[in-house]
């Protein structure tokens, strides 16, 4: 795994995107996350807002931006459920922060690393979600680790395509 120093990071530069991408990509992710499970009954093993959070946190290499985007998308997801608002918010906040922090130190241009990070962060998000639900709030929740594993794999597969598409939208000098 290629570790970078601060100078190398500066050399690589931080990507930037049109403002429309920053607005539309998360919104489309949330809308599709709410709509696609109706089509893919029983096979909706993905979390598009999480993938988008990881992507922007990684490529922007900014933990604060990752934190805020993760929090916003997580809260948005929570608002569409009937659960307490903030469970997904906290989970994705942590994921966004970690992705942004890792982006500073790791060569995120490498596809394999990005995909591995997506897989690991998906599982971490599930762990944080379960921790908040059961331990922090003391609420009952049935849980299937197999489903979470499948979701992590699904996120990785989607990231393979989505990261490539979003890469093409960046502003190039």
């Amino acid at each position: 795994m290629a570790l970078l120093g601060a100078d190398s990071r500066r050399d690589l530069g931080i990507r930037s995107y049109p403002m429309l991408v920053y607005v539309l990509a998360p919104l489309v992710a949330v809308v599709l996350q709410a709509w696609l499970p109706r089509l893919l009954v029983g096979y909706a093993w993905f979390d598009l807002p999480l993938v988008v959070t990881v992507y922007f946190a990684l490529v922007r290499r900014d933990p604060i931006q990752g934190t805020l985007m993760g929090a916003a998308l997580g809260l948005f997801e929570d608002a569409l459920t009937h659960h307490a608002i903030g469970i997904n918010g906290v989970a994705k906040t942590v994921v966004g922060f970690l992705a942004g922090s890792v982006g500073v130190r790791i060569d995120v241009e490498n596809r394999t690393i990005r995909l591995m990070l997506t897989f690991v962060l998906s599982l971490l998000s599930s762990v944080v979600y379960l921790f908040i639900h059961r331990v922090l709030l003391g609420l009952e929740l049935d849980w299937s680790w197999l489903a979470e594993l499948m979701k992590a794999v699904g996120n990785t597969v989607i990231a393979l395509v989505l990261f490539h598409l979003l890469d093409r939208l960046q502003i190039r000098d």
């Binding site: 709410a34 569409l80 906040t93």
Partner: protein, 417 residues
């Protein structure tokens, strides 16, 4: 100091965001009396506002997606049909092909019309007032089995209204927004509905599970519960009217936490994963058609006539019972006299209950009634006992006599005479 904030800026932002969300979470959870935590059943104003914003932001694109899906399907279907026509036109005569295709299209339209008519018919025949709505979105999470419908407070929907299809119950309205509503499906972990098994009449509470299969929990083990038995709503939960189909028993498993209890896994009657059109029960007041109302009025009018006819029949049967001599036992003990008599009416004379006469035994033995020897008489000490029993036997006869008079009647008819 400034350098501290600059140096740990990332961590401080993270902590601030996490802290704000955790405080928000803590405000939504309540500690219940049974020692467990639970979410507020009704969202607070702030939470509701966030849900409203999220819904307002997501619903318009969802509607577009939903509409475009139908359009794309139609376009694709038309394209295939057109290609099919071209291929056939190469082989067969154009006229016959066109006619055949038209016929096929008409048949398909008719089938589609029948499907749509089925749900409209159900809505019209259904005794409660319902409103049709279309499912347009979901929560997007397996942990939250809620979906959104395209009707809201603009159609006077309210919380806790039952949502059903022609097949069975679906869920209840959990949150109402101006133009949409959130519906909690019966297979969500937090949902509950009172149900009853159709044959065994065992009642229970239907709950959802992580797998999406609803189950009746916490009922005592019972061998009579078999797969395939129908499950209906019990009507005690104030949400679902009584008798609506819920599903059928899929299998019975042991309760993992309590030995003598079982969980009944239910296969829902409604296709919860593939919902398009649903009905919301907006009023549980019975809604009768003009014909049904007329039938009810006629039935009420006939009630009085039927009651009089039944009285006449009872009177006639009583008289017939008295005239049949073999149905009364002359040796039977006297019946208790009627205690309650309406003022101004003659008291009814009680009759003895009819006891069938036994045929005399052809070869009497010691088991024959009345032939068993009395050990006290054999010992010569039966005098006081026989003296005591004699008056009882003689007293019975005069009291039983009036029961055989033709003017007697059963006690329950005494007031009428």
């Amino acid at each position: 100091m400034e350098s501290f904030f600059v140096r740990y800026r990332n961590l401080l932002v993270l902590l601030a965001v996490l802290l704000a969300q955790i405080i928000g979470l803590a405000m939504q959870v309540r500690h219940t009396d049974n020692g467990r935590n639970s979410l507020d059943t009704k969202d607070g104003t702030g939470v509701r506002l966030i849900r409203l914003w999220a819904d307002a932001l997501v619903t318009p694109p969802e509607r577009i997606f939903h509409g475009s899906k139908l359009g794309a399907l139609s376009l694709w279907g038309n394209y295939l049909a057109l290609r099919h026509v071209r291929e056939q036109n190469q082989d067969l005569q154009k006229t016959i092909d066109r006619l055949r295709l038209e016929q096929a299209a008409l048949l398909e339209d008719a089938r589609q019309g029948q499907r749509l008519q089925a749900i409209v018919d159900f809505q019209q025949k259904y005794i409660y007032k319902t409103l049709a709505a279309q499912a347009i979105g979901s929560s997007g999470s397996d942990q939250s089995r809620v979906f959104y419908i395209d009707k809201g407070s603009d159609y006077k929907l309210e919380r806790d209204m039952a949502v059903i299809t022609a097949d069975g119950i679906v869920g209840k309205v959990r949150e109402v927004f101006p133009h949409t509503s959130q519906v909690l499906a019966i297979n969500d972990q937090s949902s509950g509905a009172g149900v009853i098994l159709e044959t065994t009449r065992i009642r229970g509470i239907l709950r959802g599970s992580a797998t999406g299969r609803p189950q009746i929990v916490g009922i005592l083990a019972d061998q009579r519960i078999q797969p395939g038995e129908k499950v209906l709503t019990a009507g005690g939960d104030q949400i679902f009217p009584r008798g609506l189909p819920v599903g059928v028993v899929d299998r019975v498993v042991k309760d993992p936490e309590r030995d003598s209890f079982i969980d009944v896994i239910v296969k829902p009657a409604a296709h919860l994963d593939r919902l398009d059109e649903v009905l919301i029960i907006t009023s549980t007041q019975p809604r009768f058609s003009p014909d049904q109302q007329q039938d009810l009025a006629t039935s009420e009018a006939l009630k009085g006539v039927e009651a009089a006819a039944i009285k006449e029949q009872q009177k006639a049967s009583a008289i017939m019972a008295e005239r049949l001599p073999g149905l009364t036992d002359p040796n039977a003990p006297p019946a208790a006299p009627a205690t309650a008599t309406a003022p101004g009416q003659t008291p009814a004379v009680p009759i003895a209950a009819p006891v069938p006469k036994l045929m005399p035994a052809r070869h009497p033995d010691r088991f024959t009634p009345g032939s068993a020897p009395n050990p006290l008489q054999d010992q010569g000490t039966s005098a006081p006992a026989s003296q005591e029993s004699k008056p009882a036997a003689t007293d019975a006869k005069p009291q039983s006599k009036p029961a055989q008079t033709p003017n007697t009647a059963p006690p329950h008819l005494g007031r009428d005479q």
